[in-house]
Subunit: 411 residues, 2 copies
């Protein structure tokens, strides 16, 4: 049996499992405007300096700083206004000693000038003449060439997941296309169980239930940056499951099997995964509730996950293992999952020796975020509707007290 | 002048502005599997009870509870095993007094049985006979019909933004199509400024800069659940801006104008917005940094925003006003923006009387989240690359101390 541990805490299980996941989707080139949330596969360097010219950071007058030295309210410097700098063009005027040119925020510093006096520190004196009431130093109120980014600088590192501001920054440098990102991992999702039927079945027979898990994992995978694929519902027959997994394996970057809920069905999943290839099942069971009988496997460097059939367990375990595996496949630097903190509205009991993940609703009270457990039997999917995330009760805690702060992994 | 206040704190400005936003995009019907992140427009009620039959929640034996009363390790109850309940089908066997039927988790309770004994509390005794070592009460280890959701119950309220688990829950009830959601708001984005050119301009002339703001807002709007539309770059001419806004207004749910950076350009934006219709500009300036000269307007119930040209200011202000406006247009119950808390790695100075929003990087130390300001002049877009969010320094604070907890609005 290739399993090298039986029941580990979730963080240890995840770390040891992902060490074996060496497969990566290939790199593809896409349009920058469509790259939100995608992960950069190769560091991008700047093709030019930004700004490309000296820019004023205020509305005012471009001057030679030396012309303003010693200026004050009682002893202003008098400067002749020799022109106005047009926006988006080089200035036609040159600024010499005791001269000034009207300039707007973002305007290009005219030749001869080395600083800008804010308009608030000037007042009109005569036609085409101003009083300057405060001195400026050379470079004051001026953005220098390359001050935002220099030519050749690494602007986005490999592994960076692109946020809205990054899209703007790349386009500022004219990088509109051919952005090297990691292809979205293809995650193939299977449900097993003789009792499970397709969600579009309108009249259920006695004993049948519609498949919840494939579609919930589909949504979670999509949200995490993967391309989710519905592999279908497989009967509780090892050969049928094996055939389905083998067929999907080559074109997928990750396989997920939601087991039938019986013990025999879970054992079937582990056996079939082990037949797929080496090293096979590495973790069979994690010290967490709900979702203990989770299977973490690796086949030819690709992650394969077996989840319990209970939809709440499956969702919690997929948040703990499936979503981080997608991040890992993408080589992303930051986890997509957001963790926040909230005060507990009630006592939350737990048992030492396992991590509990309790679905919670969040609300605001007196400017603080509070968490309230969503009660219900752990296998009821509708208890999760409206839950904002999962409160983590750590391995060594026997519960959390009302009013104390806890960590919540957001959905 | 229709403006009824000049400079308000951001929260007050937003609340008073959005009160006037009465427009809503229409309702459309979409496929449930594609509805992740969409906002439900009309409450959805359950077309059936879930589960539709009594289900076992454990692996064990379906029994009449009365057959087990008084059972213990020393005095077991002896029951005859009369069959096995197949998964996904009604049982062909009936369970009578002193009988048991093997049942798997999720199996349908056979006729005659009213409880399930966990397999761990039984042991084989003879061929087709078991010992039961503990009694069960009627209903024990059984999920009753409608215990997850009853027929006709409201399962998803209007205004709910659909999370992964909700997709699964809706499909569990066979609701695969025709889900009533609010159409994505169409947000038309304009940049103005004679110095601003398209990002695909390869050779910049002196004084020109590429448009950053339209694409950063495009990404933020998409992330917030809107359909973003690039309206183009408009020269600093009131008639050109007016013509562009009038043309976009009818087919848009929100307009956003990023102003040129000069004072005159900002005034032009306000004047043009007021010409579009009533009530026009409601807020001209918010007590926040960066981004004070922000314009919040309403025209015929639709939100119109004028942002400063500085890309950092524009991004911060769009997070504070544009993203909540999209949530408001959708009628969504929860803001999409995630706020988290972090400890400050350094002292962060501020000035009382305005809210400061400081871009921060987040990192983990000793199991806690810490925030470190990203330093740089406030108009450098590359300071924001890698920033995880904005640290809020409230109106009455003159700064935050190293080690104290602060609120971070995540991008």
């Amino acid at each position: 049996m290739p399993e090298f541990f039986q029941v580990l805490p979730p963080d240890d299980a995840r770390a040891q499992w992902l060490e074996h996941v060496t497969h990566r989707p290939e790199i593809e080139a896409i349009s920058t405007l469509q790259a939100l949330g995608r992960v950069i596969a190769q560091a991008v360097t700047s093709p030019e300096a930004l700004p490309a010219f000296q820019r004023s950071t205020v509305d005012g007058y471009a001057v030679q700083a030396a012309s303003t030295y010693g200026a004050s309210d009682t002893l202003p410097a008098y400067l002749r206004v020799v022109g106005e700098v047009p926006m988006g063009q080089a200035s036609q005027v040159e600024v010499q000693t005791a001269q000034a040119a009207l300039i707007h925020t973002g305007g290009m510093l005219p030749p001869g000038a080395d600083a800008v006096v804010m308009v608030e520190h000037t007042q009109p004196f005569a036609d085409e003449e101003i009083e300057v009431l405060r001195p400026v130093a050379p470079g004051e109120n001026v953005l220098q060439v390359g001050e935002d980014v220099t030519l050749g600088a690494e602007i986005v590192p490999a592994g960076h997941r692109l946020q809205p501001q990054d899209i703007g920054a790349l386009l500022a440098l004219g990088i509109t296309d051919d952005l090297p990102v990691r292809r979205k991992p293809r995650v193939s999702l299977f449900s097993t169980g003789d009792e499970v039927v397709s969600p579009d079945t309108q009249s259920l027979q006695p004993g049948q239930i519609r498949d919840i898990n494939s579609s919930a994992m589909y949504a979670l995978s999509t949200q995490a940056g993967a391309e989710a694929l519905l592999g279908g519902i497989i009967p509780d027959q090892p050969e049928a499951l094996y055939a389905a997994l083998v067929e999907a394996f080559e074109t997928s970057d990750m396989l997920v099997v939601t087991a039938g809920s019986s013990v025999s069905a879970r054992d079937m999943t582990a056996d079939v995964i082990n037949r797929l290839g080496a090293p096979g099942v590495l973790v069979h069971g994690v010290a967490a509730r709900p979702g203990k009988p989770t299977i973490l496997a690796v086949v030819d460097g690709k992650p394969v996950i077996g989840l319990p059939g209970n939809p709440v367990s499956a969702l919690v375990m997929y948040s703990l293992f499936g979503v981080p595996a997608i991040t890992h496949l993408l080589g992303a630097d930051v986890p997509l999952q957001v963790r926040t903190h909230a005060r507990l509205a009630v006592n939350v009991p737990s048992a030492a020796g396992r991590e509990d993940y309790v679905p919670v609703r969040l609300f605001e009270r007196d400017g603080e975020t509070w968490a309230e457990p969503v009660f219900g039997k752990s296998n009821l999917i509708f208890t999760l509707v409206g839950a904002a995330g999962l409160l983590k009760v750590s391995l060594d805690a026997t519960g959390l007290y009302e009013g104390s702060w806890g960590e919540v992994v957001l959905f």
